[in-house]
Assembly symmetry: D2
Homo-oligomer: 264 residues x 4
């Protein structure tokens, strides 16, 4: 189970979420308190937006806590919109191409969760990709594949529908193979303008997701696990919800894959 | 706090200690049950003796659990004498040169422990090395420096005296700088013939050390933490003891640095 | 363009081909004299057979010349049958999963060459794999895919037919896409018993392949480029040939994919 | 022999020197045309100044040409003052701590050159460092040591005198050991305000150094080798010269270590 943090608002140094707080991502990579996996030592990544439409990215397979490049970069770079992730491998070997965030054009995406029986449906999921997105796949994780499927299904046009269809596709293929239908999905993603997050599971154990204002009223932070002990500051996002943070502030919508998929 | 295992006896595959048992080193690198540091994700190393006088070595900075090279090598290589180590960094950055075992000529050495205030005495310890051994230092750890000092003090002639003098030197320099005199030292080392181990601390908290026979009567395994739950199989080595495993079996001697140093 | 060396015969230290000769692979990784690409700094790998049916393997993405692990392992391990490779990337990013030799069960495989327009036929080639071999694919190179296709086509039963069908498949798919049909293929592969090599190209520029006896009469070395300047010692293998080195010595057969494919 | 580029002026993307030009550093890392060593595959590094007094830094041991992080970072970050380096190892193993630029506080430093017989004077050079700077040494290169000595000798107060004394010290120690006195030194360094460079050798073969305006009249680029074929655009800096680029433009001073050292 991975850990992540995302931010949208007035520009701040990446280190304010990555390495400075009492429960910073780097600290969490050593010892997460709410996560089921004690250690997130299988790599990390950051994607940040600056002057260009597409994000910059730095990721590596070392444990986040021992990477001096990460500390230096996070200390130097300021951004109004960024994603940061530490990985505990479930599917896919420890290598750079399997480290989040995944990036395609303007989009960045990171994920915490799992698809039960992914190895039995992976090939059929990949077969749904267009040639362009098939060749854009460089790793072997379920997370990257869900992201590419969402792009295939129109992430640029309707993020909610596209993510929902990606999840619904995984559920439908699991059902067809006769396996258990279990998807747990807590993800953040962005096109450089809005910051999106989804919390969803087919059972009652979706990976946690919290939101908090940070600094002024239009700046928000989303995290898989609170970054400090001020419990009342962090609002837990319920299962089946989608968050959109834009210039208009933070909005919450219902997120139900099956319904979306039917409507699509 | 690091974890290690060492073996001397009939040739066995390295994986029998490194990756196969219920509490193998690789498993321990994820979650040590008796160690104070939960995770040993700062690299690993193996040194094994085969046909040549000097050992082969493989070490890297990835967490041991994610290194497919380690699994393949440990599965393929058989050796009558080897050392294996997983690291949780205390002194020295995460890089290959700081990964145990350290090797010099025929000797290999690995260590679990600490010298309190090492940063204040490091330079004076290094100044005691001959030019040849000074230039042999490639990392920044206290462990490598204790090994090189022991070589300086005659590890080839009397392992016990040389290790004792290295420790005593650290204690004396700590005393001179007015700092706390605290050395905890549990190490294994070999010249390709005998396998040695020492458990020692200036206080009553020496890192643990266990021994167990493995296979036939002349084959032994030494570990920082038992590799399985058969508690009665593992003999805990007391504080202030040195183990020597040779063709004549396993012998235990008292190990008291101050006394040795006085006598030297 | 990559460089490689393979050996079958009386057990020798890997370093005798990897790091010792005047034109050793490590030296060649710095500056190949006959190759079109001056530098092979995109990783390396070795696969060697010992007591188990499947080979051991060590590969990494550093330039071979700077990897101290490779030097130590090559100096320590003796084997009667091994493959060694240094890589200059053409298809596929620099990462461990793209480093040769590739291994599947008892088989190891390494390759120097190219498929023109691979990106246009890759997906269709992958679609020909069974689920088991599809999931065994961990990298993105054309080399790994040719190896998996050969396994699919019965490498265990008839190496020559299986390799020929893999190449013929690439040629046929290129033809169908209307692109240039250009395959250059110089590969070595082994099941732990015999050592095989093929030199083939659709044009008149197949990557070079040389053979030489090494030591006693039943020990042979195969290389992409001679390891020293004793030109008369190395026999150049002609285009369209397959080498088989077994207990019966070295045999040369004609190798013509189209013919084999027609007959299959 | 290494390759480097440095810039001071209006903010530009790092990629304009690192990866975009016809003879960009990344291209040069593959095949330098004027350098004696054909390949610079032993790591790379960038140090850039932004809002903080101290620079950010990213360095790694992969060949620059295969690092996707470097391309992404260089494409995303804009800076008015930065240093970039690709390494061909002469002294010191391939590891991050030996990759340029070196950073200490506000200062960054990178170097191309050599001290003949460095291994015989290294220990005595290190002994001249204060405890603070001795502990700041994390690698084993002559370059890092010259930088730390310059800091010891007052780089903050008089860059020219400090660099001159560091070089003179190396020359004097070489003379004392009876070895050849040969220092070749082409370096760039900065405190975040001015950009400095020195070209100097005890013989007539100082590593090359070129300067060119870039963009508006107060923006300059310094390189070890021209980044494109517009030969008339690049001014070769003579042996025994120091460049200072500041808000007042580019100035050239004579640089003679012995004279400076005498005057100090």
């Amino acid at each position: 189970m991975c850990r992540w943090a995302a931010y949208r608002g007035d520009p701040i140094y990446l280190e304010e979420l990555v390495s400075s707080p009492a429960h910073s991502l780097i600290e969490q990579s050593h010892c997460a308190t709410r996560a089921k996996t004690a250690t997130n030592g299988d790599g990390f990544g950051i994607a940040w937006y600056a002057d260009r439409p597409e994000p910059g990215r730095y990721r590596d397979i070392l444990p986040a806590w021992s990477d001096c490049n990460l500390r230096s970069i996070a200390r130097q770079i300021r951004s109004p919109l960024f994603l940061a992730h530490v990985r505990a491998a479930t599917h896919g070997a420890t290598r750079r191409d399997n480290c989040h965030p995944f990036v395609h054009g303007r989009w960045s995406f990171m994920h915490n969760g799992q698809i039960s029986g992914f190895e039995h449906i992976r090939r059929r999921m990949e077969a749904l990709l267009s040639d362009e997105l098939f060749h854009a796949r460089t790793g072997t994780t379920d997370s990257e594949l869900l992201f590419l499927l969402a792009l295939e299904f129109g992430l640029d046009i309707s993020p909610r529908t596209a993510i929902a269809r990606a999840i619904e596709t995984a559920e439908a293929l699991s059902r067809e193979t006769g396996g258990e239908v279990l998807v747990r999905f807590t993800a953040a993603f962005s096109n450089g303008e809005a910051l999106y997050a989804v919390r969803y599971a087919t059972d009652d154990k979706p990976p946690t997701l919290y939101a908090a204002p940070l600094g002024n009223e239009r700046s928000y932070c989303l995290v898989s696990e609170p970054l400090n002990d001020e419990a009342d500051r962090w609002a837990e996002i319920p299962n089946g919800a989608m968050i959109v943070i834009s210039d208009r502030g933070m909005a919450t919508e219902r997120f139900l894959p099956q319904a979306s998929a039917c409507a699509a």
